[in-house]
Symmetry: C2
Subunit: 393 residues, 2 copies
C-alpha cells in the first residue's frame, strides 16, 4: 500500500502500549502521565459552562477566530506578566488543541526535511513523535542535574541547528529543571544565531518550591517560542494549550493553524476563561500543588528507604515525574518484565532517547496514586532490583 | 527569516479577508459560509452539557482515546447504515477537530511532496489550503452539471494520481451534485488503481430533495475516504468532524492523529453524543433543512427575476451555496468592487480555482439571511451587472 514516507518510520508509542496492558487491571501504574482526575474542578467547570450558555448564547457556538478567544489570550498574557514578569502581547498567542498541536504548527512553519533539530536527552516523547513527521536531522543534547550539556549545544550549532526543543522546568521524563546559570550560558550561545529555542512548559505552574527560574523568553526574547497547556492545571479533555511566538512568526502560525483545523474549540475556550479568571482557580492550583508535592515526597522517601545502594533518583521541584537510575548492570526492561508479572509498571528510560533500546534508567509518575500504593509499588520494584542484582553477581 | 519552504507559498484566504471587511458593517454578506446561528440548538446542548457533568463526572474531563469517544463513533456508524445503507465499522472512524483536520491527517499519511492530487474545479478552498502544505502536484478536474469531467480524470490517472478530492453532494462552492451516472463512471475508472477517492460531505445531511445519491464508499469500498462534520448540522464551535478510512489505513491515521494533538476534545464529544442520540436532533435537522431550502429558493427566485439575460445560477438540492455565471465579458472582481461600495459582498469564483485570477463566476451563500435581505442584495448585484454590461458594450 502506498503511504507517505514520513508515516512509514513512525511507530506507535511504547507508553501507549504499556497503558493498554494496565488499563483494565488492578495494577499499580507508575507508567502514566495523567493528572489526578480526583482533583479536577468538576463543579466549577459545570458552573462556568452553564454561564457560557446563559450569557454568551449562540455566539459561543459559531465559527470563531483562528488565533483563539481574545479574553483567554489576554488572561494568558496577564499571567506571564504577573507570574514571570514577562511581557507577552496577546497577538503573539495562538490557542492550540493542547500544546501537542503546537509541535505540529512549529514543524509546519519552521522545519524542512533534513533540518537539524536539537532536543535534550532524555526528552519528551510526544515532541519526538510530532516532530518526527517532519523528518528533521535530530541533534541530541545531554541533560543532567547541571542542565543542558554546553559541548553538545556547541556541536549542534555547528550543524546549523534551526530549533532547540526543551522542557526547562520540571521536565518530562526526568523531573529535572535547568539551573539558571545553565540557562544563561545556553542563551549566550544561541543569541543572534538563526535558531529558535522552544520552551515547552506544561508543568510550569505546578511548582513545589519557591525558586525563581529564568524564562528563555526573557533571555532570548526574539528567538523563543513558548508553549503552555491547561491540561495539567485544569483538565486535559478540553485540549486547550497555547503557543507564544515572536512577532515575525505570528502570520505564518495563523496561516498554518487555519489550514490545520480553522480554529480550536471556542465553546470550551469560553468555559475555561470563565473558570480561570474567577476566584476558585487560585485555590484549586494550590490544592493540586499540595497534593502532587506530597505524592512526590512519598515516592522519593520510599525509593530512598527501600531501594538498594546504587539506585538514585531525581527530587523534582514540580511536575509529575521522578527519574530513577539503577546500578549500571541492571536492565530497566528486565526490571519491567519482573514488575509487570507483579502488576507494577513504569516506563523504561530508553523510550525517551533517540535510538536507544535499553538502559538502566526509568521514569516513574506519582500524580494518580496514594502514598500507600506508591510504597507498595516501590517495594516490588526494590525486590526486583535486588533479585536482578543478585543474579548478575 | 528562516521559514519552511511549505509555508512560504501559502497566502491567507481571500475569503477571510473579505469577511474581515464586512464583519463590523451593516453589509449584506453573501460571502460567508457560516451556518445560521439562530438555528443552533442552544438549550438542547446546554441540557446535554449539564447531563455530561452530572452523569459522566470527572471521567469526561481526563485524557481520552485518540480515535474518539466510542459511543459517538457507534452513532456515526449507525447513521451510515440507516441513511445510506453503508456498512462502516466504528473502528474505521477517527473523530477529528472539524473535518478540516482530516485534510491534514490525509496529507500526513498519504502525500509525499510532488505526489499528484486531483481536485474538482472549482473546488473547496479549505481543502486546497490544507493540502497545499504537503506541496502536491495538483491535477484539475473540471466540474459541471454533468459531474466530474471524465477526460480530465483519465489524464490525472495517467499521471499516477494517488488521491482524488471531491465534494459530490451539494458542493462548496457550486452547490452542484454529481449525477449517479457520473459517479459510476468515475468509480469504474478508479477501481483497483492505487488511488484513494476522498469524499468530503459536510452538507450531506442538509438535503432539500428526495434524490438518493450513490456514495463513493459503496462504489469503491476499499479506496474511499469519507469525511463528515457536525459543524453544519449542530454547531461549528465544538470543532467536531470525522474521517472514515479503509481498514488498512486505520493504524497510520491513529499514529498521525496522536502526533498532531493526542485526541480531539472529548468532553464536547460526549455532549454532542448526548444531543444527537436524543429525540430532539431529528426535528432540529428538519428545521434547518426547511429554513435553508426556503432561503435557497428566495435567492434563486430573486436571481431569475431580477438579473439580466446571460446570467445563470445553480439550483442546489442541499447545502448553503449557489453558483452564479455572469455573461462572459463581465468580471466578477469588478462586480465585487461595485457591490462592496454598496455594502454587498460575495466571493469571486476564481478563488476556488487553482491559479486563476478573475473570471465571470461567483459564489453566493444564503444560510444566514432573510428573504428580504437576499432580495435587497441580489437587486444591487443585478444593478451592478447591468451597469458593467452597458459599459462594456
Amino acid at each position: 500500500m502506498y503511504l507517505s514516507s514520513r508515516i512509514q518510520n513512525i511507530k506507535p508509542s511504547f507508553i501507549r502500549e504499556i497503558l493498554k496492558v494496565t488499563a483494565q487491571s488492578d495494577a499499580i501504574s507508575f507508567a502514566g502521565g495523567l493528572p489526578n482526575k480526583d482533583l479536577f474542578p468538576l463543579n466549577e467547570l459545570n458552573a462556568a459552562s452553564s454561564l457560557v450558555f446563559a450569557e454568551h448564547g449562540v455566539d459561543a457556538l459559531q465559527y470563531a477566530a483562528t488565533e483563539g478567544y481574545p479574553p483567554l489570550k489576554q488572561w494568558i498574557s496577564d499571567q506571564y506578566r504577573i507570574r514571570e514578569g514577562l511581557e507577552v502581547k496577546p497577538e503573539q498567542i495562538v490557542i492550540t488543541n493542547g500544546s501537542q498541536q503546537a509541535f505540529d504548527l512549529i514543524g509546519k512553519v519552521l522545519l524542512n526535511e533534513g533540518d537539524p533539530l536539537a532536543i535534550e536527552q532524555p526528552g519528551y516523547l510526544g515532541a519526538i513523535q510530532a516532530f518526527s513527521f517532519f523528518r528533521p536531522a535530530w541533534q541530541s543534547v545531554r541533560l543532567d542535574e547541571g542542565g543542558m550539556n554546553l559541548d553538545d549545544i556547541r556541536k549542534a550549532l555547528k550543524c546549523s541547528t534551526r530549533l532547540f526543543y526543551s522542557v526547562p522546568n520540571f521536565q518530562n521524563p526526568t523531573g529535572l529543571s535547568h539551573p539558571n546559570q545553565n540557562r544563561e550560558a545556553v542563551a549566550d550561545m544561541l543569541r543572534d544565531q538563526e535558531c529558535f529555542f522552544i520552551q515547552d512548559d506544561p508543568y510550569g505552574a505546578i511548582q513545589f518550591s519557591e525558586q525563581r527560574y529564568l524564562s528563555y523568553a526573557s533571555l532570548l526574547p526574539n528567538q523563543t517560542i513558548l508553549l503552555g497547556s491547561f491540561s495539567k492545571t485544569v483538565v486535559p479533555a478540553f485540549r486547550l494549550g497555547w503557543v507564544v511566538v515572536p512577532e515575525a512568526l505570528i502570520d505564518p502560525f495563523l496561516i498554518a493553524k487555519q489550514a490545520i483545523d480553522l480554529h480550536t474549540n471556542s465553546f470550551c475556550q469560553r468555559v475555561l476563561h470563565e473558570y480561570v479568571s474567577g476566584d476558585s482557580f487560585a485555590p484549586h492550583l494550590t490544592n493540586i500543588i499540595d497534593n502532587y508535592r506530597a505524592q512526590k515526597q512519598a515516592m522519593v522517601d520510599a525509593v530512598v528507604e527501600m531501594m538498594p545502594g546504587g539506585v538514585s533518583c531525581s527530587d523534582p521541584e514540580g511536575g509529575m515525574f521522578i527519574w530513577l537510575k539503577l546500578p549500571e548492570n541492571i536492565s530497566a526492561r528486565e526490571l519491567l518484565e519482573y514488575c509487570m508479572e507483579r502488576k507494577v509498571v513504569f516506563v523504561p528510560g530508553d523510550t525517551f532517547y533517540l535510538g536507544a533500546e535499553d538502559g538502566n534508567e526509568l521514569r516513574m509518575n506519582y500524580s494518580c496514586l496514594s502514598a500507600e500504593k506508591i510504597r507498595e509499588g516501590v517495594k516490588i520494584m526494590a525486590d526486583g532490583i535486588n533479585q536482578l542484582a543478585s543474579r548478575s553477581r
